[in-house]
Symmetry: C2
Subunit: 307 residues, 2 copies
């Protein structure tokens, strides 16, 4: 059974972002938001499972609904306020410090997968508590063609490692950045780290290296997708989520997810990430239409092409 | 007039290398040595212009001569000893400290280009004093098809910037690492840095990013060549020189040096660099035959290939 459904679980948030040049104030953020917006460039049917508070503006919901994203799995709690994250980037923007995290409604979040997305062919577990990721997996109906992707970060390795490992065991594709791959594996070399993570379960290990691109490790050998060189990075927030969104949105539209589709998906994810970082928060993703997205993909092909 | 001659000017040296796992003792090193060995994988006619002292062993000369490298431009001074460099790598091997540099015979080196290489179609000015690089350029016979490559480093920017800029103005291709591109250009972004360096003269600006590959910037847009992911790096010494050697050796064998040949050459340079770092000093280059070199190039093609 093939369908084009992409189920996303992840945070929806207020972000407050400080770069060397900009202080954003409270803006729309969250892993599921970025993943959804990036996945919306595909022809997948996209749904988000998340939670927001009573302070979450309708216009933010509309931003996602306008992209045909199904929000029936987004719980709006009448009591409690939305997850809030504040971060500050260093001068070179490859490093950032978290200044504040308020879990708020996320603290007691029990995800509910909408009935009509329980058979989703493609599922992406965005970066959040692995217990919530597991609850989503537990609600799915069987689908032998299903591909499950996982994105995570060091925070969950620090405080929920065993639960995270249990989730990792059940996924097909993991996306993780280079430092986190080293932390998770205990290896000091990416080839060795990928092999160790592969042994934890995922057939495909994708290591995100920011401006240096992404490396896919799988049994047939590695694949490398470069990042587009950009004259200016406005705000790196959400780049990894956008990458995962572009990738998972593409996979949801494919009949098969062999290594070739996964490589193609990585290129689409790279294009989405390059759009994301060229604006503050979700602005560039909001301002770039499908045509603009494919222009970015074309630039990436030229970057890779010898002829 | 086309010929397959590659003229290399650069250091020949004793290196002493300390990695987290190895202390090499005094071994064969120097930019021209690495460039020559890497270029020898091509079918170019290779010659080195350099200087060594009375302590330079015949077996080291034989290492190069065995690869059909013309050493008639290598002056062996009967008084004085060979250039010596001692460096220590940090734990992650992307950083190193120079512990000692003894210029010795390099201090008063007047390069002499062998008569039969004055018409070389391809010339590479390896990393050394820009005054010496200029002296080599001054001795060349005209060749309208000539391609001149330059490799340099921060040391010469610090102490000979004006002379270096004068040489840069005369070359077609510059290879430089990311930090040095930022230093040379005064820009904090590689796209902007490449544009600034392009304006200094070279039509092609190649920025070496070590384990993250290499970026070519030219008027038709950027090209990216990834580095091969390696399970273990034994010794990064000479990787940049080997890259320049693989590239320049390939260009010397081509009738034209359009952007396509330069991109192809970058891939060959990448293959040579990946061999270089898999052994201590020049050992892996010495131990790897042409067949092994093309196996490495094949791996690189697979790394880049979607299908």
């Amino acid at each position: 059974m093939n369908n084009k459904k992409l189920l996303i679980v992840g945070t929806m948030a207020f972000d407050e972002i400080i770069t060397p040049n900009i202080a954003s104030g409270k803006i729309l953020g969250g892993a599921a938001t970025y993943i959804g917006m990036a996945a919306a460039y595909s022809k997948a049917e996209v749904a988000i499972v998340s939670v927001v508070g009573n302070d979450f503006p309708d216009k933010y919901m509309a931003c996602l609904r306008d992209r045909n994203i199904d929000l029936s799995g987004v719980e709006q709690q009448s009591e409690g306020v939305t997850f809030y994250w504040k971060g500050k980037y260093h001068k070179n923007m490859n490093k950032r410090d978290t200044l504040e995290t308020q879990l708020n409604v996320l603290a007691n979040f029990n995800p509910k997968v909408p009935h009509h997305f329980k058979d989703a062919q493609t599922v992406i577990l965005g970066n959040l508590d692995p217990n919530v990721q597991q609850q989503v997996l537990d609600q799915l109906a069987p689908n032998p063609n299903r591909i499950v992707l996982l994105d995570t970060m060091n925070f969950w390795m620090d405080i929920q490692l065993n639960k995270l490992l249990a989730v990792i065991k059940q996924v097909d594709i993991i996306t993780i950045n280079d430092e986190e791959a080293i932390q998770l594996s205990g290896k000091n070399n990416l080839v060795q780290a990928a092999a160790a993570i592969h042994a934890m379960g995922p057939a495909y290990v994708i290591i995100k290296k920011g401006e240096h691109g992404a490396l896919l490790f799988h049994k047939e050998g590695p694949f490398y997708a470069p990042a587009l060189p950009l004259e200016e990075v406005i705000d790196p927030t959400g780049a990894g989520d956008s990458f995962a969104g572009g990738l998972s949105g593409y996979l949801a539209t494919q009949t098969n997810s062999t290594v070739t589709e996964i490589k193609e998906g990585i290129l689409l994810g790279t294009a989405a990430a390059s759009i994301c970082v060229s604006g503050l928060g979700t602005k560039a993703l909001q301002d770039t239409n499908t045509e603009g997205f494919y222009r970015q993909l074309k630039k990436l092909e030229q970057l890779r092409s010898v002829k």
